[in-house]
């Protein structure tokens, strides 16, 4: 298989690169000066793309690669892959579900605690010597708060399981109600936001869910409410979020994703009720390694004409 050309648009994991290089002809697009020319030069040989949350395969790239057979994403979210075009052309798409569910759910709770209990700010308070001048102020209890989850799939359910251990009542919004679950269902995101203390975004990014967190939802969540986004940046109308936080219409936010990563609105840097993470939802040594193995496993299965491990299309 060493002759099979696999295109990787941006760096995502040195372990993954190593493993791909052992098996394929890995083309690292970010290392070449003229990307468009490079694609043209290799268009007859590239049979696979390895993408991630930031870079996938849009219609333009797919059109430039007539020999493309498979897009294997180093992520569970595949909003950067043009699924419609892939389906039409019979191009397979795989992702990395399940293996990162726990890490993302852990981070959602970690962000919630960091925001409500001001962990990052009070760490700064100690390091700057301010503790010598007086105690830190009161923060907000997490135990017992109502947690609202948008999207009750794998990640949403894992968030619910953890929040329940803190005696948090769970409420949710989903495309369809899930009667076998004992959580409170709300038929709209606005109603969910109005009835919870912490709102967690855990659904896939699609045309329907783009800007699902808009001004109305943010106002409904309110000056004591906290938004936690471990989904995708475009789930949130970012300028609306920023103005709500700056004006105090929203109580706080814990964000792992943004509309245009790695750019983060600078107005947020001054706010002590906001925690900002650089898209690290699945960012543990253990999980990235397992994700990489899954990408490799899917590619090998495809080229050996075996069933794909985790196909999307």
């Amino acid at each position: 298989m060493e002759s099979i050309a696999v295109l990787m648009p941006i760096p995502m994991s040195s372990y993954l690169e190593q493993e791909l290089e052992k098996r394929f002809n890995l083309l690292k697009l970010w290392t070449v000066p003229n990307k468009t020319q490079f694609i043209k030069d290799h268009s007859a040989s590239i049979r696979a793309i390895v993408g991630n949350a930031s870079a996938g395969a849009d219609a333009e790239l797919i059109a430039a690669l007539p020999k493309l057979e498979i897009v294997s994403s180093f992520s569970v979210g595949i909003d950067k892959v043009d699924l419609k075009t892939c389906k039409e052309k019979g191009i397979r798409v795989t992702n990395t579900p399940d293996v990162l569910t726990d890490d993302v759910a852990d981070l959602a709770i970690g962000l919630t605690l960091a925001v409500l209990r001001r962990l990052c700010e009070s760490d700064r308070y100690v390091r700057s010597g301010q503790w010598k001048e007086g105690d830190y102020k009161l923060t907000t209890k997490f135990t017992g708060k109502t947690v609202g989850i948008i999207g009750l799939g794998r990640i949403g359910k894992a968030v619910a399981k953890r929040a329940e251990a803190f005696s948090c009542p769970i409420a949710y919004f989903s495309r369809t109600e899930k009667p076998d679950l004992k959580f409170k269902y709300y038929p709209s995101v606005v109603e969910l936001a109005a009835n919870c203390d912490v709102l967690v975004v855990a659904c896939p990014l699609t045309e329907e869910t783009r800007h699902i967190i808009n001004r109305e939802v943010i106002n409904a969540l309110g000056p004591k409410g906290v938004l936690i986004n471990v989904g995708r940046g475009p789930h949130v109308d970012e300028p609306e979020l920023v103005s709500a936080l700056v004006e105090g219409r929203l109580g706080g936010a814990g964000l792992d994703v943004y509309e245009k990563e790695p750019e983060v609105p600078e107005e947020l840097f001054a706010l002590e009720n906001v925690v900002l993470l650089p898209h690290v939802g699945s960012g543990t040594v253990e999980t990235r390694s397992t994700m990489a193995d899954l990408v490799i496993g899917n590619l090998e299965a495809h080229f050996l004409k075996k069933p794909l491990l985790t196909p999307v299309v």
Binding site: L119, C120, S122, D123, T140
Partner: protein, 326 residues
């Protein structure tokens, strides 16, 4: 025994003011008579000698007022000490025992908030939340690329030191993160199924994380020493929401600086508010200014608990949070 004179409401002695008391006073001033030592121009000892000889109940905030044997000598009628804290390390327990003074603390109320803090610190250290937040705010995500990887929480072995109210709440929460719970306590607890280690060093050797939730006593002072930290090992993390002095702080700092342990989440220190400045250089440490119980809800709940304990005492009913076998 309760006072039986209906015209004089039940007397509760307080030594120093606190904002916790302000909330209690507004709720309870019609039910109890609060004798406030700080209102008097007399020095405390003199005030107590002339005004508090029949005081049966002392409501105390040990952070400011250590309850010493000398103090207890001035309160010959004292039957009950209610402390607004979980920790009793600043109370002379032997002197209380000798005088038959009952103690009610605030453990059940604090347990949730303290457990939340322990879990929050643990998640922060493992997933580098505070460090990553600094990375973004300092502009490094734009200029420096992806942040480093953290450590997965699921599947990790969590050794809880002290399985009381707080330790049990920590265990309950971390089980939901798929952590494996182990513990060390003064005595094994037959009501739980977690593996028990009578030796804290052995617990450390079998844990990926140690969470300190026990009381500070003569036995637990510096219980987490160099031997225990080395047993915890280079991949080990320590979280302390107990008291600073349970850990040999100097040794812990050395271990962190030299990489003998992987990280620490600390809400308490040996000599607060002094914090060893070597820790300020470290990204794998999360520091918190002893605020595990400092939530508004906690203050309301603690006030309600104090009221409930007072009502119970004066009507000869069982206390709600009596510390037995202290």
């Amino acid at each position: 025994m309760a006072q039986d004179n209906p015209t004089q409401p039940h007397q509760v002695l307080l030594l120093l003011p606190s904002h916790c008391f302000t909330a209690l006073e507004s709720k309870a001033s019609h039910k109890f008579h609060f004798l406030k030592a700080w209102d008097s121009p007399l020095p405390q000892a003199q005030f107590l000698q002339s005004h508090a000889t029949s005081s049966q109940v002392l409501l105390s905030f040990p952070k400011e007022t250590p309850i010493t044997a000398q103090l207890l000598q001035l309160l010959p009628s004292l039957k009950l000490l209610i402390t607004i804290s979980a920790g009793l390390d600043r109370v002379d327990l032997a002197a209380c025992r000798a005088r038959g003074v009952r103690i009610a603390n605030s453990s059940p109320i604090f347990a949730g908030d303290v457990a939340d803090m322990a879990v929050g610190l643990f998640l922060d250290v493992m997933r580098k939340i505070s460090a990553a937040n600094r990375y973004v705010r300092d502009g490094f995500w734009v200029s420096g690329g992806d942040f480093v990887l953290g450590s997965k929480v699921g599947g990790k072995r969590v050794g809880i030191v002290g399985l009381g109210h707080i330790g049990l709440q920590v265990a309950k929460r971390l089980e939901a993160f798929d952590c494996k719970i182990l513990y060390n306590s003064r005595k094994e607890k037959p009501s739980v199924s977690y593996p028990f280690y009578s030796d804290v060093c052995e617990l450390a050797a079998n844990s990926d994380v140690l969470v300190i939730c026990c009381a500070l006593t003569a036995q637990t002072r510096h219980m987490i020493n160099k031997k225990v930290l080395l047993a915890l090992g280079r991949e080990g993390v320590i979280v302390n929401v107990g008291r600073g002095a349970i850990i040999d702080e100097k040794e812990m700092v050395q271990c962190l600086v030299q990489g003998e342990i992987k990280g620490a989440g600390l809400d308490v220190f040996e000599n607060e508010p002094q914090v060893p400045k070597e820790l300020f250089e470290l990204d794998n440490v999360v520091l918190s200014p002893h605020k595990a119980v400092l939530t508004a809800d906690c203050f309301t709940d603690v006030t309600d608990l104090a009221m409930a304990n007072l009502e119970a005492f004066f009507s000869n009913k069982p206390l709600l949070s009596e510390v037995v076998n202290y």
